[in-house]
Symmetry: D2
Subunit: 299 residues, 4 copies
């Protein structure tokens, strides 16, 4: 097993050397696009992709994601930011400027089920996930061998009711402050508000979803008894309200009466890993903006 080869990684960096992404959110009014695109033109930038959305052209909020190339991006990065600041202020923008070649630092939290973890590791190994996986944290020891075979550090931190706060401190210490995004790949512990506020809109969770929703324990058993014809999964940012944060991606899989509870779970795992991988990929490429409790996704 090997990481993305140095050669492949160099090729990616080279291709994206001068590629930047600008993310903007502000009250909508006339002139925003003109101001931003004129600014980029003056900077000598070539717009490669541009997406925008407004909740309402008169009174709504405006969102924009622009990918552009500009010569010598790395050297000019701070200067471009400085030059844009007055434009941003005049429109009251929340904004950021990202260098595409800089890979985000990712941590994965996992419990005992490995399907979501493995999907992420395989995608990462094949070069399809533009992140550096810094660490895998688990409340169980089971996945150590698998994770370490990918050359990724594994940290087993047991979590019990009594030592939950203590365990979270250990987790935060293990992350070391340098992590950009945490993926809960079937991590079955609820994170405390204290933990969440360290990583606002930077923790992604996956959970099963059914039509209709089944609350309480054993959802697959409930779904089986009701004879649902679809099972699904939802990837979302984690907020204090359990499983109710902004949705990034959802998908479903058709089932019939023939699937027993075990088969439903198996299919559910397939949907979960696909949906989580898509959501994480979009997050890593800065394609997800959050507004209130919903997302704007520019895939």
């Amino acid at each position: 097993m090997h990481r993305l080869s140095e050669r492949e990684w160099q090729a990616y960096r080279q291709k994206n050397k001068d590629r930047a992404r600008m993310l903007i959110s502000c009250p909508d009014r006339a002139g925003i696009v003109a101001a931003v695109s004129s600014f980029l033109f003056e900077q000598g930038a070539n717009i490669v992709q541009s997406d925008q959305y407004t909740t309402d052209p008169e009174t709504g909020r405006f969102f924009m994601r622009i990918e552009f190339d500009v010569v010598n991006l790395e050297e000019r990065y701070e200067a471009i930011k400085d030059a844009f600041r007055p434009v941003a202020e005049s429109f009251g923008m929340d904004w950021s400027l990202v260098e595409a070649k800089k890979r985000k630092k990712m941590a994965i939290f996992v419990s005992k089920e490995d399907h979501c973890l493995l999907e992420l590791l395989w995608l990462w190994k094949s070069g399809a996930l533009h992140a550096d996986i810094e660490i895998v944290v688990s409340n169980h020891p089971d996945m150590r061998e698998t994770v370490e075979s990918f050359g990724i550090p594994y940290r087993h931190i047991p979590v019990t009711k009594e030592r939950k706060a203590e365990a979270e401190e250990e987790q935060l210490a293990a992350l070391g402050g340098g992590v950009d995004v945490i993926v809960l790949a079937r991590y079955m512990q609820i994170l405390s508000p204290r933990f969440l506020q360290e990583y606002p809109m930077r923790i992604i969770n996956i959970h099963h979803s059914f039509l209709p929703a089944f609350v309480g324990a054993k959802p697959y058993e409930q779904a089986y008894r009701r004879g649902v014809k679809l099972i699904g999964a939802t990837a979302h940012y984690v907020t204090e309200e359990l499983d109710a944060g902004p949705i990034i991606e959802q998908d479903v899989q058709r089932v019939t009466h023939e699937e027993d509870v075990e088969a439903l779970k198996q299919l559910g795992r397939q949907v979960e890993r696909t949906v989580l991988a898509r959501a994480v990929g979009w997050h890593l490429e800065d394609r997800v903006l959050v507004y209130g409790n919903k997302t704007i996704v520019f895939p």
Copy 2:
């Protein structure tokens, strides 16, 4: 506008003249298939299609749907039923024998939204829905012209809180006891237990469905605020527990942040009409068996 032409209808009858469907449900044990298929062989029947399902081969319940051709079905129909009775009794079967050429009598209930009604009327007119639509009943007068242009009687029966029981009596009288299935095509009144017990597992409803479920009023507005990525619809048999009867069919449609509430509703209507039409079609061809609160569908 015209009904299915007499010639087309004759062709269908001729093709299905000797086609029967047998539906069976009983405790599973060894020998059921042998007994049924030996019986049909002795009757000179040619099995055309056969589907079966067991919840558990040792202690479960067994379901079977067989389509077969037998010469002179109409003349021999009662004799075949008589001959099968001892077989059925020895296995404790719930069963029925249906002549495929006999179209079921259908009533449609509708309120103000016409998309589900129109889908059914168009499919019926094109010959794809094997039913006789006896009547359309509505608590509003709006659809009269449309329905009557298809040559179908329209009955406007206002429903108010005060005269609900009275209105239901009028509805039952309008159906006249000869209706096999009632389709609630966006009929926005709740039917009473008294009404439901007249048509057990013979009333099909359609309703919108979301991941997660949104309870209470204005579900599309709730779905919009949460930024769902899928909207769906569920067709089910109506039971006393509101919207919780056995599910016949479900489907979803992808949406993005770009769809406003109006667009979500528009797409929701598309899913609703498709899902309802599939469910009704399967019911009319005796492809749906009910067990507890779930369906076995042999599509």
Copy 3:
């Protein structure tokens, strides 16, 4: 049966009274978005939706579709066009400016199969197709009653090998020069180059599609013998090369060994009507740009 009611049509016009769409295609280079958006800002326009695409930011071709609102659009329409002309010239743009409230004039050509025609008529009647259907032209008399029941003129023009050129002259005369788009809704005659050049990239056709492709006669029979698991449909602009014009939309439907040839055709009709309706809807809302032999679709 009735057309979209005058009230509904007024509401649509009112909502889109000041809504314009600008379509642009030109060699890509820096500054295009800045120039266009600055122009619109100066005109007092509010951008509602904006999509763009470039085949290559350095040497490629750039495509843009902008929806915007501007007060008193109708009165200012010509003035805005005049003012934009210098901008367009400096970038070598192909461009157009469309008033959203102006419905395109549509003709439908049909032969004997009615499923695509009916889908368009039903969508149009429900207000979902923003066009005026001026005429239905057919080489057969069969659909007259149906079409006229929608209040649409029907013109039967027989086509035989001998009088094909003559028939096409009659068709062109029947269209009268005022038609914006022609939809071939299972029209089984090949249009001559002479006809096509009157309506370049304004004739939309639908045809079945299989994996793999089956050439020659009776494609459904061929597909059945090969046991395909998917059947599909492709909607495309008509060019002189038969069935090889720019693709607007495609979709497929899963099938199994159980579907006989007749069932495959039935399912094929479902896919065809859905795909054609989507393609026509996008064309009517100016969402399709053509470049070489491919389309850019901003749905």
Copy 4:
């Protein structure tokens, strides 16, 4: 990395200890199901799943797949086969009886692209692929490390035009006669008729598929230039006619003008690995019957 644990494998064997699958194909006529099911009843078998299909109840061919449990299957396996032989002969059946617990022996052929190989290895490692992977054969050395890390032998056999026959002899020798199924996981060499006749309907291939089909070199480049909206993949049994053997499974993925050739290839790889995995899984569970040049799949 580890194989399916001994414990998991034992559990699977235990669960399927007495599970058999009977596959039947014969001219259709009345009485087949009665004869088979009566036979199984006399043997004390419990039918768990049963699927059947007839191309025509009067003159067609009949196909059946039955899963059943029978006590002490392993001991009684030969006796059951002997007892069934007269039944089979009286109906002219092609038939087989398979013990579910016996895993098929599989070989994988691969060239330089690893996505299909890896999907199979991962599924196998997770226990979802009921086969023993005996060997991976490649005309390139590249995958050795990856394959051997799964504990599977890797055999590099170079293939050139000059030594093709010789190479195939080496391949056949490497398989050693004990392999039940060969999966071509993007193996880019054409197998000779001589090779194919050793494994009739036991070699599964995957190839890309487009609507329309693009013949000749660089299909993704052709698809890009034509602006297709769907890209797909087809898994099929290999016959002497290139890429024209019986289709087992197909699927597609939606694309837009935004995907460049590289992105189309990336998405194509996703579809290919999914479709191939489904086809292989069905083959391993004896769910695919072949008739002429098409398959009957009981999924």
